[in-house]
């Protein structure tokens, strides 16, 4: 799992500092997975488990965008929590990682949606 996550980020991210590989990629990947699953589960099984009011394409898109925003902010928060001089929360390396993570959040949310939707009582046909 660790190696998989590192390889996914290293495919598009070439930072100057080794701290990304040592201490950022793995927690970032785990946070991406957990955040995406959490938002998708809330959408498909809480919002649309007992109600039939939040199952429009626009509601799903809102969740997708929210997930992308979380994915974009996660690297900044993780880097900032580490402190130190090896990486800056607003360096170009971090910002590129933000874009990459946001893109992965986008794709992962779509994949999770396609799987989870079939179990949803009122959103099994959202977004398609």
């Amino acid at each position: 799992m660790r190696d998989l996550l590192i390889s996914l980020y290293e495919r598009f991210h070439d930072p100057q500092s080794p701290i990304y590989e040592d201490r950022i990629y793995v927690p970032l990947g785990i946070s991406l997975i957990l955040a995406t699953l959490a938002i998708a589960i809330v959408f498909y099984f809480f919002l649309n488990g007992f109600r039939a009011r939040f199952n429009k394409w626009s509601h799903w898109l809102f969740c997708l965008i929210l997930n992308c925003i979380i994915g974009f902010l996660a690297p900044i928060l993780i880097v900032a929590s580490l402190g130190g001089d090896q990486a800056s929360a607003f360096s170009s390396d971090t910002l590129v990682l933000c874009l990459i993570n946001s893109s992965y959040s986008f794709l992962f949310f779509i994949v999770v949606s396609m799987v989870l939707k079939w179990g949803s009582p009122h959103a099994s046909r959202t977004p398609i």
Binding site: N55, A123, R125
Partner: protein, 488 residues
């Protein structure tokens, strides 16, 4: 069993229309063994442009079209009772037989009464003088296009021509033992008062040998006789005067008691003349608002169909009257009579739910699971079957009818008009919907979507899209009703 329903004149048309809506709502028309009954409506009115009769015929035609999309006869559901025109019984095509539900009088309606009886060709002086004593010059010169204008002495002669028509011969040949006949008409106007005794006489005639005349003579024949329940505004230019409705009714009843025997089951209904309609003799302007008397009169047909043979075959002769529970100016399900409410309150509420959702919800719900699974998308809602079929039936016929019932006097207003379908808990006038626990939705458009999403995934539905739609929404509205209201 088939039930041949003769609706005579405007009142016959309006009662037939009320029956159409009851059957559309899913009220079952069954015989004594709970088997489904096929209805063959026949509208008799020489006033071809009478709007009441035309509306009745149009509603029937739409009903028939929607029924053809539904599940097979006998199953619960909207439009489930089979209704077909007389022409559907013909083995061969015949241009002289009416294709629609309104009978074709084959040119009679364009003649004057004098032409019809050949008055000018009569050479015998005594006969001519007798006819002049029986009929005024106005009677003789009047075109039959506008019906009989409150003159049963004209109608009883003209309607006799029906016996020679292709339609009557088809009816007589298609009739089989076990079939029944029910006649609906008013007895204070012209067409109905003339038609009822004449039709009975034609059916029971010992000399007739057309088709299954023997079976018809021995068949159960019922009748709904509608006594006055409205007035007409006074108009000196009109030949119809509602001040003599009661007098004409008394004369008709007196005549029937002495000379008309042969009905096995007679239903009477009337009301104090509260409503006052515009005085239009005939034609497209004769369009009286729907009245609760017509709706309750239609219940007589259900009751008659469900009688056992012992209770309605000759020589049985029973008489029935109707009484409401509370003498209120505005009736609803709680005051109309518990037994009657038990027959149709749930089903009519379901139809009302369907109409409300059609006008304000379905087209905004194409993203719901129930819509996507069944491909009820914009194309479906704009299709001929839906837009020009079901939606037209609900908006141009049913909704107008229920609104007229509520606006008439005496009124029948079982439902409230709601602007916002997000809260439908007050849709019934007699009671609010049941309170639900916090995790369940109160009665609203969303509650219907929730139920429909659950059902759409679980059950198999018919293959035809409109059949699927009606079956799904019959089940949904039934379940939502049971969760929201107690049964009578």
């Amino acid at each position: 069993m088939r039930l041949f329903l003769f609706g005579i004149g405007g009142t016959g048309g309006r009662v037939m229309e009320a029956l159409t809506f009851l059957l559309a709502s899913g009220v079952k028309l069954v015989d004594a063994h709970k088997q489904p009954v096929e209805v063959i409506p026949i509208l008799l009115d020489t006033d071809k442009s009478n709007k009441d009769t035309l509306d009745g015929a149009s509603a029937l035609e739409l009903y028939q079209r929607l029924h053809s999309k539904c599940q097979s006869a006998g199953k619960c559901g909207f439009f489930s009772t089979p209704i077909g025109p007389l022409a559907s019984l013909a083995k061969e095509a015949n241009q002289r037989i009416s294709k629609a539900f309104q009978l074709n009088f084959q040119g009679v309606e364009h003649s004057t009464f004098g032409d019809f009886i050949g008055f000018n060709q009569i050479e015998d002086f005594a006969t001519k003088k007798l006819l002049e004593a029986l009929y005024s010059q106005d009677n003789l010169n009047e075109r039959l296009t506008g019906g009989f204008l409150g003159n049963p002495n004209v109608g009883s002669v003209v309607l006799s021509g029906f016996q020679e028509s292709a339609d009557f011969k088809l009816f007589a040949s298609a009739f089989v033992p076990g079939d029944r006949v029910f006649i609906i008409g008013s007895i204070f106007g012209g067409t109905g008062a003339a038609g009822m005794p004449w039709l009975l006489k034609a059916l029971r005639s010992e000399t007739s040998n057309t088709g299954a005349a023997g079976a018809i003579r021995e068949a159960a024949i019922g009748a709904l006789m509608v006594l006055p329940y409205f007035k007409l505004q006074e108009d000196e230019s009109s030949r119809i005067d509602s001040n003599v409705f009661i007098t004409k009714t008394k004369a008709a009843l007196s005549y029937y008691s002495s000379h008309v025997h042969g009905f096995n089951s007679v239903y009477y209904i009337s009301d104090t003349a509260l409503a006052s309609y515009a005085n239009h003799e005939s034609g497209a302007q004769q369009s009286n608002d729907a009245h609760v008397v017509e709706l309750l009169g239609a219940l007589a047909i259900l009751q008659f169909a469900g009688l056992s043979d012992a209770d309605c075959l000759p020589p049985a002769e029973t008489y029935h009257e109707y009484a409401i529970d509370v003498d209120a100016q505005i009736l609803d399900f709680s005051t109309i009579g518990r037994d009657s409410a038990a027959i149709f309150a749930k089903q009519l509420t379901q139809l009302q739910m369907l109409a409300m959702l059609d006008s304000g919800h379905f087209r905004h719900a194409t993203h719901q699971v129930w819509a996507k699974v069944n491909q009820f998308d914009d194309t479906f809602f704009n299709s001929g079957d839906y837009h020009d079929g079901l939606s037209r039936f609900l908006t141009e016929y049913y909704s107008v009818w229920i609104r007229q019932l509520a606006g008439n006097r005496r009124a029948f207003a079982p439902f409230r008009t709601l602007e916002d379908l997000r809260d439908m808990s007050g849709m019934r006038a007699d009671r609010h919907s049941k309170k639900k626990p916090f995790w369940k939705r109160h009665l609203s458009s969303e509650a219907f979507d929730i139920q429909a999403n659950n059902i759409a995934r679980a059950k198999g539905l018919p293959s035809d899209p409109m059949g699927r739609f009606l079956t799904l929404w019959w089940d949904v509205t039934s379940d939502v009703y049971d969760e929201s209201f107690d049964r009578f």
